[in-house]
């Protein structure tokens, strides 16, 4: 079987940061990059399915849309056990919204024709919760979003999955491959890469494509885009919390005071 895992290198803000001049982005000097937490779980799910299938002819392909910064994320996937990786980038994609990214991913997935596509439910920076389902929409693939358990029946090409609903309710459902699943944190225990595997990751195939390599017209990607960010600001937190200052002892004393006051009233 072949599984494509779509991953994202996410940005975390430093405590202090500055916006870029046009005000719609953060100065890259103040960002720290890492593989999206959700994607560590979707990658692990893919690796387990491949390993359970056993033998040759099964592969896990990690794909991403991003500039050179995103390559670290792919290398991390390769170190953990992905067989190969593909990165697509084009300057036209700078600031691309979730639908534009999903449109590019769709072209990458089409080229691979996998049995399963796995995505994280959401990314920790954009938190759209939309890339996977939009990707399925472009490809007209059946999908289940927010999966917390996955059982694969290889003979029938059927996945039995748990969909996590609000308030601790689970829906159990079945879906036939080819299909797309968006994977929730906690579904498995993501593995760590060994030092040796980290070194060897650089020997594994990692292809880099532009839009034209995928036969994608930038105008098609542009037309798929759903929004444009026109401003970025720090949120108005309202009155906000009353901050308790001083030593840990002073903070603890105030907490005890507040709790006793509120619980006795």
């Amino acid at each position: 079987m072949k599984i494509v895992v779509a991953v994202k290198q996410v940005a975390a803000l430093d405590e202090e940061f500055e916006l870029v001049e046009d005000g719609v982005g953060v100065d890259a000097d103040f960002l720290e990059w890492d593989l999206n937490e959700w994607d560590t779980f979707s990658l692990e799910a893919a690796l387990q399915l491949r390993d359970d299938a056993g033998g040759d002819g099964h592969e896990v392909v990690a794909v991403t849309v991003g500039d050179e910064e995103a390559e670290e994320g792919l290398l991390s996937c390769l170190a953990k056990g992905a067989d190969r990786a593909v990165r697509v980038w084009d300057e036209e994609l700078e600031g691309a919204d979730v639908l534009a990214v999903a449109r590019v991913l769709a072209a990458m997935v089409e080229r691979e024709s996998p049995d399963l596509v796995l995505c994280g439910v959401q990314s920790s920076d954009a938190v759209n919760g939309a890339t996977g389902t939009a990707l399925a929409g472009f490809l007209d693939l059946p999908r289940v979003a927010v999966v917390t358990a996955l059982e694969w029946d290889a003979s029938g090409g059927v996945a039995t999955v748990h969909r996590e609903l609000e308030g601790g309710v689970i829906e159990v459902l079945r879906i036939h491959a080819p299909a797309l699943l968006t994977i929730q944190t906690g579904i498995n225990e993501p593995r760590y890469a060994t030092l040796r595997a980290i070194k060897q990751a650089r020997e594994k195939p990692l292809e880099v494509f532009g839009l034209d390599d995928l036969g994608l017209d930038p105008a098609v990607v542009q037309a798929a885009a759903g929004s444009r960010t026109v401003a970025l600001a720090t949120p108005d937190r309202g009155a906000g919390a009353e901050m308790l200052n001083g030593s840990p002892a002073a903070v603890a004393a105030r907490i005890v005071e507040i709790v006793q006051e509120r619980m006795s009233g």
């Binding site: 002892a249 509120r262 619980m263």
Partner: protein, 319 residues
């Protein structure tokens, strides 16, 4: 294209609150955008909910009969696509819920709509504008949807007030859409997660721990602290994901919604899904090392401090 179309959400025979929150959001937009406000209900028993969603200000209720007994993402996708094509709204509002996450982005992709998810504010100036979080909700982004005749937004639950159910008298109209064969998944069953040894929704004082506790070996220490303090121990999602505590203790969107008199959060940054489960607590006290942590946005009292140092002192103070 004009007017606002709201999609109501039901589950297992109940209308979900988010449906009437969307009506409130739509009414705000309608004041400046004009046009009609229609609320659509999809389901095997859609008519049953028509009167409830007809809140004051709603112009029309649309019911779509679905062949499946419960929500099915592909059936809903086809139904919403057909509604948009027939009714031609300028703005479509859905809840940013688990159901919507499974089909709304596909509708937007398929029809090349303007689109944003987890939206927290909507305005109108020659077309919709929306606000949503960026960089893990540490910033707010303002979005436009240039060149789009129709924009679909999924709106964060719990932001807009719940409009009074059935407070209006909008007529209901059945819209016939062929949905046979649209389903691409097969429903097996619903499972309700076992309650476990404790019901955190009944606790008046919750001491809640998150990722900040760093290690499973630290759990007993906070269990003891909670006991000393007369609190019930609850946790945020990463603690359950790691298998350190059972899901019955989890506060948040996929866990329990709690409303204790005091919620003391140690080492919880305040992801959206967590805040959704505790933001209405009477008094929220948060301790976190990150001064920008979103939990401070909902807390009444906050301390930027090392939770272990504070825990040391709490243990001392409580003897």
């Amino acid at each position: 294209m004009s007017g606002v179309l709201v999609l109501a959400e039901t589950r297992r025979g109940e209308l979900r609150d988010v449906s009437l929150e969307l009506v409130s959001a739509a009414l705000e937009v309608k004041e400046t955008a004009g046009g009609r406000l229609a609320v659509a209900v999809i389901g095997a028993d859609a008519e049953k909910f028509a009167a409830g969603v007809a809140a004051e200000g709603v112009d029309e209720v649309l019911t779509v009969s679905a062949p499946t007994g419960q929500f099915e993402a592909h059936v809903w996708q086809r139904a919403v696509q057909a509604l948009i094509e027939v009714e031609e709204p300028g703005l479509v509002l859905l809840g940013h819920t688990i159901d919507s996450i499974g089909f709304a982005p596909a509708v937007a992709a398929h029809l090349a709509l303007g689109f944003a998810s987890d939206v927290t504010a909507i305005s109108w100036a020659d077309g919709p504008r929306a606000r949503r979080g960026a960089y893990g909700d540490k910033l707010v982004a303002e979005l436009e949807f240039p060149g789009k005749e129709c924009t679909l937004l999924t709106v964060r639950p719990g932001i807009f007030p719940v409009a009074a159910a059935g407070s209006g008298s909008a007529p209901a109209r059945a819209v016939s859409i062929d949905l046979d064969g649209a389903a691409r998944t097969e429903h097996v069953e619903y499972l309700d997660v076992a309650a476990g040894d404790v019901d955190i929704t009944k606790a008046e004082f919750l001491l809640s721990i998150g990722r900040g506790i760093e290690d499973k070996d630290n759990i007993p220490r906070f269990e003891e602290l909670a006991e000393k303090f007369g609190a019930t121990l609850s946790v945020s999602r990463p603690i359950v994901d790691a298998g350190w505590m059972p899901s019955a203790r989890q506060v948040g969107q996929s866990g329990k919604t709690v409303k204790p008199r005091v919620y003391l959060a140690l080492g919880i940054s305040g992801a959206v899904q967590h805040l959704a489960g505790m933001r209405t607590a009477d008094t929220i006290i948060a301790v976190n090392t990150d001064p920008e942590a979103p939990i401070f946005g909902v807390a009444h009292y906050g301390a930027v401090a090392d939770l272990f140092e504070v825990a040391d002192e709490l243990e001392q103070a409580l003897g």
